[in-house]
Symmetry: D2
Subunit: 383 residues, 4 copies
Amino acid sequence: MSLRPTGLGVGMIGHAFMGAAHSQAWRTAGRFFDLPLTPDMAVLCGRDAATARAAADRLGWRDVETDWKELLTRDDVALVDVCAPGDVHAEIAVAALDAGKHVLCEKPLANTVEEARAMVAAAERARASGVRSMVGFNYRRVPAVALARRLVEQGRIGQVRHVRATYLQDWIVDPEVPLVWRLRAERAGSGALGDIGAHVVDLAQYVTGDRLSGVCGLTETFVRERPLPDGDGRGAVTVDDAALFLGRFAGGAVASFEATRFATGRKNQIRLEVNGSAGSLAFDFEQMNELQFFDGAEDPEVAGFRRIVVTEPAHPYAAAWWPPGHGLGYEHTFTHEIVDLVRDIAAGTDPVPSFADGLAVQLVLDAVSRSAAAGSQWKEIEE
Amino acid sequence: MSLRPTGLGVGMIGHAFMGAAHSQAWRTAGRFFDLPLTPDMAVLCGRDAATARAAADRLGWRDVETDWKELLTRDDVALVDVCAPGDVHAEIAVAALDAGKHVLCEKPLANTVEEARAMVAAAERARASGVRSMVGFNYRRVPAVALARRLVEQGRIGQVRHVRATYLQDWIVDPEVPLVWRLRAERAGSGALGDIGAHVVDLAQYVTGDRLSGVCGLTETFVRERPLPDGDGRGAVTVDDAALFLGRFAGGAVASFEATRFATGRKNQIRLEVNGSAGSLAFDFEQMNELQFFDGAEDPEVAGFRRIVVTEPAHPYAAAWWPPGHGLGYEHTFTHEIVDLVRDIAAGTDPVPSFADGLAVQLVLDAVSRSAAAGSQWKEIEE
Amino acid sequence: MSLRPTGLGVGMIGHAFMGAAHSQAWRTAGRFFDLPLTPDMAVLCGRDAATARAAADRLGWRDVETDWKELLTRDDVALVDVCAPGDVHAEIAVAALDAGKHVLCEKPLANTVEEARAMVAAAERARASGVRSMVGFNYRRVPAVALARRLVEQGRIGQVRHVRATYLQDWIVDPEVPLVWRLRAERAGSGALGDIGAHVVDLAQYVTGDRLSGVCGLTETFVRERPLPDGDGRGAVTVDDAALFLGRFAGGAVASFEATRFATGRKNQIRLEVNGSAGSLAFDFEQMNELQFFDGAEDPEVAGFRRIVVTEPAHPYAAAWWPPGHGLGYEHTFTHEIVDLVRDIAAGTDPVPSFADGLAVQLVLDAVSRSAAAGSQWKEIEE
Amino acid sequence: MSLRPTGLGVGMIGHAFMGAAHSQAWRTAGRFFDLPLTPDMAVLCGRDAATARAAADRLGWRDVETDWKELLTRDDVALVDVCAPGDVHAEIAVAALDAGKHVLCEKPLANTVEEARAMVAAAERARASGVRSMVGFNYRRVPAVALARRLVEQGRIGQVRHVRATYLQDWIVDPEVPLVWRLRAERAGSGALGDIGAHVVDLAQYVTGDRLSGVCGLTETFVRERPLPDGDGRGAVTVDDAALFLGRFAGGAVASFEATRFATGRKNQIRLEVNGSAGSLAFDFEQMNELQFFDGAEDPEVAGFRRIVVTEPAHPYAAAWWPPGHGLGYEHTFTHEIVDLVRDIAAGTDPVPSFADGLAVQLVLDAVSRSAAAGSQWKEIEE
């Protein structure tokens, strides 16, 4: 009998931005955290064999496949990590789950609610036989965000009254940025709304532990035509550049959200503020190792927002890393995601965020789209 | 012929918070700025003679009246400064203008659009005979805000795409705060919306130099009953605790607004961010002597939000005060307001913000109220 | 019998920067604070009659004198406010005290230790007959600084271990700034050391409630010749541009100080950090309405520097002004100084900072100068 | 002929905090950066075989040794990475270099100047035969710090006048923290001075491109006895808890430094500010992805410290990682160190910081110690 943990064979589909981030996480998780299963970076799947092989070498994958369906037939793959674009999430994830593979699927869960529902159904079916699934809202695993959730759960801010969430980027302010796939509805589903708005909706629902019950919103496309990527003429931008919406949570809080790619000077700024009856929390990804906490129970003479440097051993994930004050970066959110997922698989517990959580986000985005299309009419979120 | 400036007799109505702020401004303006007319703090008007007399002594007014109509008959009063609650603004201001008195009217201009329209009409009539009027959106006169406006005018941020404005307070989070007049619709008109939302709507329209063309919004009253101020039983809160709304500007920008009295830990935090095609500006009243400016024309290697300490001689209002780095406070916004008003009166030019600007704010607030009452339906702003 | 407070006749010497600041304070103190004596702005003293008269009109003084000695003979002057340059402080203050006038003397108390000692002796003599004296270290009256002192007194940070104090300006970085009097030793005594270093030494001794027992330091003059103010040729700069020193407090803390006029981009930045065995405090004048407080007793999970917005009624001086979150500016420090001084005079108590406190600062500056002149040798502070 | 890079066999000595950090860097460097040589994590060396084996498995090393001298004889080791405590740096590094192995040596280079000199001599000898050496001042490789250096080199801040550097920790404020080896002079050499003061001295010399020519300083041990780690009685703390010093740079700048383990609430705060004749730079490791830059050439109306988010492709090291706004953490400084070292080895160029740079730091620390021991007397830095 071996004392060594047994392995967990992983096959990853896609090797762009998210593929690189996930690979770093798969390589690193077991170096800092005690894992009950040892991830085995078995196969990288990409459409072009040579490109995939080069990527596999660089990213640390042993083998390559060019057809994701082959991946599902391999014995050395117990988990499929879906880093492909959103329009193929549903097909791959459902097939993988039905083939008995655990699935980690990048966000957004799908491009449409229908796809997301099918994925949730597949996850439910698979769950019965111990097959796990998780959607990759990695920002939940920023230690400061996880601490925020913990403090809300502990009742440190009381009943939640306000949520304010913005995700600001500026990478297409220049009208000469070409018409890449992210700016075309048929591939990306939506623009800022689904790409980054999805993150702040999930963050808000996660930190509050509540669900949005209705929204109204508007979207805007500031630059309506852009150069085609092949350099010949211009094509129509068919997604939103920015999406703004208001919402109500089931528990009574009111909320505002904004996702934009036109906030000049803001590179990747995620801000979340939650005000409760007994305190407040504020987070800014530009200072990702910090959480602001106002404790309403403090004597007014010394009350104030505390800048908690979230690197103490008592803080989520922090004990595995460096001494206090030695901060983490963006990539560590993925490492934490992998750690939690592997532990859940070994323990037979359900990972979060679940596909159902992913669907919950999708329903909000869908309601926002429908509201925007209907002159900002209020839309209830379907269950 | 005298080289000394001639006087400008002032009568002020009300001596609470705003009365104190205006008095300090009237006392101070001529000490730091060269004024073409010397303000003469002639009369303070309050309902109770003894209280008014005590206030006049403390605040520096020579005489007192208990009936504002008397004020309008006095020869030593050329300007009426209306610091009374919003439900009497219209009656007083119209009468004063019709009596040939210049009028400075605290914000919001009125409690209803109808009143505001009547005031604008009166201002127009009076203007023909050289009588001036201004509404007291004092935050325009924060030097950093005035600098923001100047930079927008200079085209430093290009075409405006995004406005994000919040005004957060927390003074009624405690459900035992009594049902003061500000929490009753019949006196206050609305709650957070009219009291502080008005400020951020004006700021947004001022800094962008644009007008909102439509909005959708929601309001919420978290604590619906409160102790009566006399301590006997509870009464219904009939105004909003919080108002959130989205908007579109005529020039194409999209915007989000929030005004609340339930943001635990935020005492008087006004934040405004404007993103344009060529740059961005950000302001936070908690650091009122600073303006953040991102210049999109900078080399990316050294581009960043600049924290401009707005105390240089080149900055609005700053040369009259202290050396660079010696900041101003809340009250100085009123002093600047008085300075500009007195100069306009002497020069025969139109002060801003005008009553028409005040009406423009009122129309937005009204549209927000109507939207909130109609399930967040989109409402066009009337002209 | 009158219920009105009796008056306190004031004569002020000097009407430049400090004269303007003090005048604003004398005019304002009684408007916001209940004063037991009513300041009467009787006489402004300046060398040139016409200039003084114009200044008096602008600043609100009734009468003028051109010889400060005349001031001491006037019955309508009970208090002399010395805003003249440092080289005449001693002569005026001693004469005024000996003439039975209360004295408020701007900082630094004097240009030399000998002068300062004579002033302390005069203050002691005068005190016996109820005549009061105060030196104008106005930054003690920033509410956030006064709160810091209060928290140290309450033991909230335990035993003080570290003090870090810097006063950074940049107004003479340009080598073409002319050789004004502040850059000549014979008038100014010293450069950055006495002008602004004095402030941070006083702040450090005030907030800790302790005295420096020894120092070592260095000074530097980066630009050694400058254009003469009359535009004809260049002259030698005979004061320090920057002074840096280390110190030990009697109670065991160690400290570092820096005062400079060459910190490009820092206009008037005063920073003070104090670390104790049980907590820490940090202040930055660029955010003068805030105090940072770290409470070492907090659970590490939620411990952090709290940004206290020092505008609550419970905070020093704040209740007299505006509602929470409506900040103060530089000038209010002088108003608070006047308020405390007038109350002490009425109550027959000793104002602080006393001339002895001013001497304590002078002794530190003198030791720094001697250390710098002796190759940074350690110098004990004389008692 | 192979197009694949050839390998670089690495042997690492030590597997505590620094060993973990270096291992992560060795594992990661080639995943994100194109390296001309492929690091081969050949051998981990630790005194206890079982512990070393477990560490090797966790950290990713193929083989283990228990005697570092064996390491030097192995053909599969071309580079020795010294992560052992400072008192053995000299012996190991000299032997390794003399054995023809490239050496990466953690900071501080040595515990004494004599050792450091011997190491520099060995590095010089080895260099002649193409053997390279580097000392591990990892904070140079924070992208914001490297950008600061670049801007100084470009002349963007002009002639350097001021350096202000502090390294604040608080891990031994509690007097019950036991007497670990870092608090004993015989192992650690010094306390805060050598452990963290070394970093800020190197940072200051690196960013300015200049060397300190003299210093005066003081040290303090606040808690002089602590519990023995074995729990039986107390022993004397024989190193400094805090060190403060002033310095002069050869180029004319003046500087202040502080290193302490008693700054309650400061976990690992490194701050560096440099003021020049044409601009300023400021860095705070608590916001390690940001650099503050003041450009003195800006129009005063819009001048201000810019908060540069140092994640643009144009920024040092950033292009290899994530899109703009997705920040890095502490560990990435080591990855960058490895990347630069491997590239230098392949190119046959001299890595920096060199052992001579390490000696330069050691000479400063030694002068500070001697100054502190001599009543803060000024000490010239030897060449």
